[in-house]
């Protein structure tokens, strides 16, 4: 946790769907280097919309986004990825019918100039990643089909992909919902390690206990508005729970 300048800063972000639904209402939010932010709130609070705005999947109705102090328009997922934001959605964006290696490199394949795949190189990199960075229980080879993996293994592949491309910010949308208790623990350890390695993580969850275990800061949304932005050291789990319930 640091008081450095934010890497990404959102100012006055509002997102409307049609004329009636205001999913986000004048949100100001920032992500500093090397911190884990627990983005919490009840269903329909606007957590997923906020993630989609930061990942470039949805464009805000009004408001501005700054990357390292410079205004940047996140017009597509590609723009967000290029500045260093990787998103892992609930469904993890994995392609079941492809193997682990092809999933890790999908859309960012290592190729020759003519576009042919450097399969050997990619396989070696994937193997290295699986053996040294994100060890996944039960995975022996990057050639295994992702469709045959468990929820936790899939989550780990998605994280391995984010790690490989050295992203600065990892957005995780309800990452623990499909995981067993043991897998959840392994997952939380992974993201702590990512933070220690220099990444920032935004963890969306409505399980406040998971968030509390790893987060350095909490950002609480309710009906599209921010109701609390507090560092972990200034609060405790009872207070957080009380505020969530009250809203």
């Amino acid at each position: 946790m640091s008081d450095e300048k934010p890497f990404i800063e959102l100012r006055g972000i509002t997102k409307c769907y049609g004329d009636t639904i205001k999913a986000l209402d004048d949100i100001s939010f920032n992500i500093k280097p090397r911190e884990i932010i627990g983005l919490v709130g009840d269903n329909g609070a606007g957590k997923s919309t906020l993630i989609k705005v930061i990942s470039g999947a949805h464009q805000p109705t009004s408001g501005k986004i700054y990357v390292n102090g410079k205004e940047t328009r996140f017009t597509s997922s590609k723009v967000a990825m290029d500045v260093g934001v990787e998103t892992i959605y609930q469904d993890m964006n994995l392609i079941d019918c492809m193997d682990i290696m092809r999933n890790i490199f999908c859309g960012r394949e290592d190729t020759t100039k003519a576009g042919f795949l450097n399969l050997k190189k990619m396989r070696e990199k994937a193997m290295h990643l699986l053996q040294n960075e994100v060890t996944i229980e039960g995975i022996r080879s990057p050639n295994q089909l992702v469709g045959n993996l468990s929820g936790g293994q899939k989550q780990a592949v998605a994280i391995a992909r984010a790690m490989f491309f050295k992203k600065q910010v990892l957005l995780l949308d309800e990452p623990t919902s499909a995981l067993s208790v043991r897998e959840t623990q392994a997952f939380l350890d992974h993201i702590t390690k990512l933070r220690d390695d220099g990444m920032s993580v935004v963890l969306v969850t409505h399980n406040i206990y998971h968030a509390y275990q790893v987060a350095d800061r909490f950002f609480l949304l309710s009906h599209g508005k921010c109701v609390l932005d507090v560092k972990k050291k200034d609060t405790d789990i009872e207070e957080l729970t009380k505020i969530i319930v009250a809203h």
Binding site: A57, T87, L94, C106, G107, F116, L119
Partner: protein, 334 residues
Amino acid sequence: MECGMAATTSTGNSAGNFLNKVRGYKSGNILIVFVAIQIVAICASLIFPEQFRYLSSSNLQVIFRAIPTLGIIALGVNLLMITGEFDLSVGSTFALASIIMAKLFNGGMPLPLAILIALIVGILVGAINGFATVKSNVPSFIITMGAMWFWRGIVLLISQSSNEPFHPGALMEMLFVASVGPFQVQFFWFMAVGFASWLFLERHRMGNQFFAVGGNKSAAKALGINTDRTKMLGFMILGGLAAFSGIISATRVNDVSPIQGEGLELQAIAACVIGGTALMGGRGTVLGAFLGAALLYTIQDVLLLLRAPGFYLKLFVGLIIIVAAILNEMLRKK
């Protein structure tokens, strides 16, 4: 992959292991079925050379001549189905490209230019189908069903419902339809297209993205892949291959009929289904489509040689498609 069954046969362990190894490949099962049918047909023709003339040179020529027309289109259909789309208009594109080529050539246009225009027509029809599909979000099945009738109507209009002769000369016939021993040149074209499509699908970035788009479109999009452009490319490649197949076919029969290619679209989809291409996209192999097309013709040929009445053809082909689809689905779940 679950093994076992094959290993317990009386052929012994090494043969069983070999079979299991082959089955482990993506199109191993269709390969085994194909080879088994070939072995049976070849043995039968060796034992009864007079009654069952499978290995006679005239029969081999018929097979090698007939397979590429469907096979080249099936290879394109396989690519498109992997992206999760269908094109029911390929039979019409096949006729449209060749009738335009024949008309232009007979009207005095140089042959290479007429061929080039035919290929461009095919690619253009594919591009229109693709554009309409990705922009409207209407299933390609519906869009291309409309396109099938629309372009067939255009073919009938251009041809005034009568056949167009096409005599492109010796060089063209040598390039596309000459005999090389028992083989025909068009079979080499079929193999070349097969190899190119394998390179594209398995070894090229674009092919990798075909699988991604068909396997999980929203994931592909989130990973920065332009899914619309990928699908468009699939439609255009298929349109080009349909036109190419039409050109070969017109050269072979020296004639273009306005109804030629009717039913080809379903046969090509059938060939892919037999070869294990998934109807929902994301899965399929070049070898599977290749063998699927070859298998469809082999079975028809065997039935013809057995002098089975015509209705058996449809009956058998129908059964094979259903059984193959069910088997592929069962294997996938394993």
